[in-house]
Symmetry: C2
Subunit: 198 residues, 2 copies
DNA sequence: TATAAGTAAATGAACGTTTATTTATATTTG
DNA sequence: CAAATATAAATAAACGTTCATTTACTTATA
């Protein structure tokens, strides 16, 4: 039996993310992807059921999966609040700024109904995508360190500014001076921490 | 001369936003839009140069334009910090939760390269999309009320959690119980205010 | 060790459909 | 009539997907 060329699948995923980042999800076609990955269009259908399947796997496995791993490095739910949040922010910022294509598809998770639905289903199936963060916040709440809020509101407060700052970071990446420096990042992080602590 | 049927253009914009909200930007086609608006495809091309032109005008004029108007109601840059931010948050939340299709396209501004570019150009051309907010923040900084940060970072901190909460609001709208209540909204708003004030 | 059978991987060309856009024509009003 | 709006029908190009076939490698047999 002819052995699977694992490089081909990796190239497919890399090129798909690249095209999405540069031209947008709406301009990713199967034939364009095939050409970019130096592969026959038919080959994509050996590895993925159809376009939807490809996009969902890209989003869930390649983007969210790696993001979660990166964000949780050196993090544990026993850290104190400031320490924990700073760790998460630094991990996420480093990962996202170094992986622009992943970030680009991640942003589509907030707009594309297809990816949005896929995310919610993945979230339900796996219990929690970011279980350690959930635990961390619950513990902080139980200890009376932070104000009581629904988990999803807590998450929105903690992470959406970070995502927005990464977006600004890329906007400024092409200009003469970067304004989203590590100092600015940590200043923003500390503003949040101060606001959330009782 | 035959008069323009203004209702047709309004219907076109409404239906375009509706399709985008329900099926995604990637599933809006000119023929689908024409059928939904009960109009010949050619008619769209009398009112818009091409698809890009339609999308950009939808985004800039219909979505961002109305959003700006709604957000700035009863706001003025002399308000004190807490009062001003609460006013902006309440305006934005009310407008967005009552205009889901507008919100849906707005979210694509963070992902689609086409809309992203259009936004940046509009921002440059018009000087500032949200000039009163800029003034407000500058005044607060000058008075030493809030920490010094680049404007774009300040804006990310102030508004991205709000957008994220609106997103959560819609996610929960179909479930049995809404968790993003006015109380939760204001609690989040106050967390930010507390964090940003010196 | 040589070779033929077996098999999944991979392909190029094609399918029918849908896309954005245009041509030629009809309709509506000053 | 003149002039603009609106249309139905048509266009080539691009779309997602499939067909029939070839390629490349493993394994079983002589």
């Amino acid at each position: 039996m002819r052995p699977k060329n694992l490089e081909k699948e990796a190239t497919l995923r890399t090129m798909a993310l690249q095209i999405i980042a540069e031209e947008g999800l709406e301009n990713l076609s199967m034939q364009k992807l095939a050409k970019a990955a130096n592969v026959s269009p038919r080959t994509i259908y050996i590895k993925y059921e159809n376009k939807e399947d490809l996009l969902i796997k890209l989003f869930i496995e390649e983007v969210l999966g790696n993001y979660e791993k990166a964000v949780l490095q050196n993090f544990n739910s026993d850290m104190d609040f400031a320490e924990g949040v700073q760790c998460l922010w630094q991990n996420a910022f480093a990962y996202l700024t170094n992986n622009r294509p992943h970030f680009a598809l991640m942003q589509y998770g907030n707009s594309s109904p297809l990816l949005n639905k896929a995310f919610q289903q993945a979230n339900i199936q796996q219990g929690d995508f970011f279980a350690p963060i959930h635990q961390f916040l619950e513990k902080q709440k139980a200890q009376g360190c932070i104000h009581h809020l629904p988990f999803d509101a807590q998450r929105a407060m903690l992470f959406s500014p970070l995502i927005s700052l990464v977006s600004e970071y890329f906007d400024y990446a092409t200009r003469d001076r970067q304004i989203i420096t590590p100092d600015v990042l940590m200043a923003c992080c500390n503003i949040l921490i101060k606001g959330m602590l009782k």
